[in-house]
């Protein structure tokens, strides 16, 4: 044990949650140490957008990621990389596609809206949209969301517009919008947290095409790496420690968190850092994993776990996607992950045979890159019955005319879906890897099936010469992971039914906080990151005001 220093706050993880916490608390004068398990890359590292290196070899973001998955407790696990996360400074947000939504007001009160559902653990959030609204606004302005306020008639109400105008169109998005209008839908520019013009001291996007899955080489994409952490560092109050893998939070006298133990992966030494408050922001897999590894005589079931709910209610979203081929270029390899969307399918309508809904965006990064496109063929391309040979070569030829639509649906929480430390598989440090146990709810399958039909209708309306379902949730093909992770430390007012309170502070340990999507009681039918950001601002505001009162 080498360093043992005292800080006001230790933040574990520097993605959307931890990055904002580090920024906001240093701005208020607190001394913050931030631990991030991976390296601190530089913007120049993102200039090389070689697909093999970045996507397939994963040289940059999380080459050391290892986890296991099983559908239920009686099944054997598979070992691999299932979730699309980032371990370097800036977290997963570093390679996000930057779709930036405010949850609709009803998404904060799903239990009240829907009533109990068999097999699901629906809950209301302890906060409502009105409380979140100013924080959404702050997140949109700090991270430079580009969009057309009011263009989505089904979106959440807002007091202020976006800081940047919408991004320019792309051929695929124009086709999508025309087709959607034919069906009576209301297409609008996808709100994206990348600058469409210089904003916040960062330049406008160059539309190079490698956005989602890649880092931004000019900082046009809004990330905590480009926005929050540099600002925090300029205060002189942030001690940012990359290559620092937290593996245990120790509890001291009075039942308060005392220190965080981590492995400095560059020196291979164990370190301890003391802080008066600890924020765990390691995403909905990493956060419960750390809390459950932090066992002691006083906390034999892990920290903050008197409810038994740490790690439970893992939600992955319901992704459904269709691929289209046009008779002319789609230009889908240019620009951002998505340039157009519809939200007409979002409102819950039980007459469809399922509850809840989600947003539909044109395109996604899987069809934007040659190898991803080739290997995402799905055996479902109508022109070929094999994954090789002449028909497959014809599929390759469709690349520049291909487009896609993707729906992001709200999945239902289930207590059996969980994350815990795997007792059988360890990483190179001998630590148990995170184990996911996850099975879809029947509502998820019904939603995906219905959405698949709507996506194919959109394909027909765009005039696509070929269209097929490339991805859906079925009982035969379970989701083993996601880029959207939520729910494993849900927030609530009842300590027996939630892990953290409305301020994302542990019910059990008064100086332990969680500020990532782990705290989401339900997943919403939108990409989660803007809500993680907004909630982190909200929690930071509370922390600062309480600290000033001397109440912490």
């Amino acid at each position: 044990m080498a360093r043992r220093e005292d800080f006001d706050v230790c933040v574990i993880g520097t993605g959307a949650g931890g990055g904002v916490i580090a920024d906001q608390l240093t701005a208020a004068g607190f001394r913050v140490v931030a631990l991030q398990r991976g390296p601190h890359l530089r913007t120049g590292d993102f200039v090389d957008d070689d697909e093999l290196k970045v996507i397939w070899r994963d040289e940059l973001f999380s080459p050391d990621q290892l986890e296991t998955w099983r559908p239920d407790e009686s099944s054997p696990t598979e070992t691999g990389q299932f979730n699309m996360t980032g371990h370097c400074v800036g977290g997963t947000m570093l390679h996000w596609s930057a779709w930036s939504w405010r949850f609709r007001p009803d998404e904060f009160r799903v239990l009240s809206e829907e009533g109990p559902v068999e097999g699901a653990s629906l809950a209301d959030w302890p906060i409502d949209y009105e409380e979140m609204e100013p924080y959404y606004e702050r997140a949109e302005w700090d991270f430079g969301v580009s969009g057309d306020a009011g263009a989505n008639p089904f979106g959440a109400p807002r007091r202020r517009g976006y800081p940047n105008p919408p991004h320019p169109d792309r051929s695929a998005g124009l086709q999508f919008k025309a087709g959607a209008r034919k069906l009576g839908y209301h297409p609008f520019p996808t709100p994206i947290a990348a600058n469409s013009q210089p904003h916040g001291g960062r330049p406008g996007c160059l539309y190079g095409g490698t956005c989602g899955g890649y880092g931004c080489p000019i900082g046009a994409k809004g990330t905590t790496f480009a926005v929050s952490l540099p600002k925090a560092q300029r205060t002189g109050l942030l001690d940012l420690r990359p290559n620092s893998l937290a593996f245990e939070i120790k509890i001291g006298r009075g039942g308060r968190a005392r220190s965080v133990h981590y492995i400095d992966q560059s020196t291979r030494e164990e370190q301890e850092v003391r802080a008066r408050h600890v924020f765990v922001c390691g995403n909905a897999v990493g956060t419960p994993h750390l809390l459950l590894m932090s066992k002691s005589d006083s906390f034999p079931d892990g920290l903050a776990n008197s409810s038994g709910l740490v790690g439970r209610n893992l939600m992955l979203h319901v992704f459904t996607a269709a691929s289209f081929v046009f008779d002319k270029g789609s230009r889908v390899f240019t620009g951002l992950g998505s340039h157009a969307a519809i939200d007409d399918l979002h409102a819950s309508d039980p007459s469809r045979g399922f509850i809840r809904g989600g947003v539909v965006g044109s395109d996604n990064f899987v069809v934007k890159q040659p190898i991803l496109h080739a290997l995402w063929r799905g055996s479902s391309y109508p022109g070929s019955d094999r994954d090789w040979g002449a028909g497959f070569k014809d599929y390759l030829r469709t690349f520049s005319r291909t487009a896609s639509v993707l729906s992001v649906g709200e999945d239902l929480p289930m207590e059996a879906n969980r994350v815990d430390p795997d007792p059988d598989v360890t990483d190179e440090w001998g630590l148990p890897v995170p184990r996911m146990t996850h099975r879809q709810h029947p509502n998820d399958v019904a939603m995906s099936s219905w959405h698949a039909d709507r996506l194919l209708e959109i394909g027909d309306a765009t005039g696509a010469v070929e269209r097929w379902i490339a991805l859906r949730v079925t009982d035969e093909e379970p989701r083993k992971g996601s880029s959207h992770l939520h729910g494993t430390c849900r927030m609530g007012d009842d300590p027996s039914r939630s892990v953290v309170d409305r301020w994302c502070r542990s019910h059990d340990i008064p100086n332990l906080w969680v500020a990532d999507a782990s705290v989401f009681p339900t997943s919403g039918g939108y990409n989660p990151t803007l809500t993680i950001l907004a909630n982190a601002y909200r929690v930071a505001d509370y922390f600062v005001s309480e600290a000033k009162k001397g109440a912490l």
Partner: protein, 218 residues
């Protein structure tokens, strides 16, 4: 889609050699696995220096080349043979993919054995219809005398398919995609960060796009 299986249930201790396709994508959640590690800088450097054989014997090289040529056949456009996919695979097996060398060698022996048994001649001497027949047998797992316990015949076929496809579409510096044959076929102009991205007119097809090999596409 290539349902590439987990061949070895034990996790690696160092750099992982497993990737789940959709875990690497925005979507995630597929059942599909890819077992392998892609060429690391040593292989990249070797590929840049030379297209000489490093791992395969001359006969193995020709056999892998012929198989790749059925995975992405040559028609009016170049296929895997012209793109040099065998060179990409040779460099991968020379370095970080070295643990798959023995699998390749055993599999190639079995494939030629199957060709001899069925048709009395090695794979490369067969007409393409018979080559496809042999590959279909491989894909369905029907290969007598298969000796590798590392992977089943169908798993090996999935691996060589993925190697071929990625060799066809990865940056030419990795040893495949020779003369940008893969990117020309699919109409991909090359990575763009270093060239300053695209203009709004290019994004809606009103302005041509300069490719990395110098021509323009509409």
């Amino acid at each position: 889609m290539l349902p590439l299986p987990v061949l070895d249930p034990q996790p690696r201790r160092s750099r992982l050699s497993r990737r789940e396709f959709f875990a690497r994508s925005a979507l995630c959640g597929s059942t599909l696995w890819l077992l392998w590690s892609l060429p690391r800088p040593l292989a990249l450097k070797a590929a840049r220096q030379s297209a000489e054989r490093l791992v395969f014997s001359e006969a193995e090289w020709k056999l892998v080349e012929a198989i790749s040529g059925r995975i992405i056949p040559t028609d009016e456009d170049p296929g895997a043979v012209e793109a040099g996919c065998v060179n990409f695979i040779d460099k991968a097996l020379a370095y970080e993919e070295a643990d798959l060398r023995r699998l390749y060698q055993a599999a190639l022996r079995a494939i030629d054995g199957l060709a001899e048994a069925r048709f009395g001649q090695p794979f490369v001497d067969q007409p393409t219809e018979r080559q496809d027949e042999i590959l279909l047998a491989l894909e369905s797992g029907d290969v007598p005398g298969w000796s590798s316990d590392r992977a089943s015949p169908s798993e090996f076929f999935q691996i060589i398919c993925a190697h071929t496809i990625i060799g066809f579409l990865a940056d030419p510096s990795y040893g495949g995609n020779r003369d940008y044959a893969g990117w020309k076929l699919i109409g991909y102009p090359g990575p763009r960060h270093e060239f300053g991205g695209y203009t709004p007119k290019q994004m809606i097809g009103e302005e041509k796009i300069q490719t990395v090999w110098g021509t323009e596409i509409d």
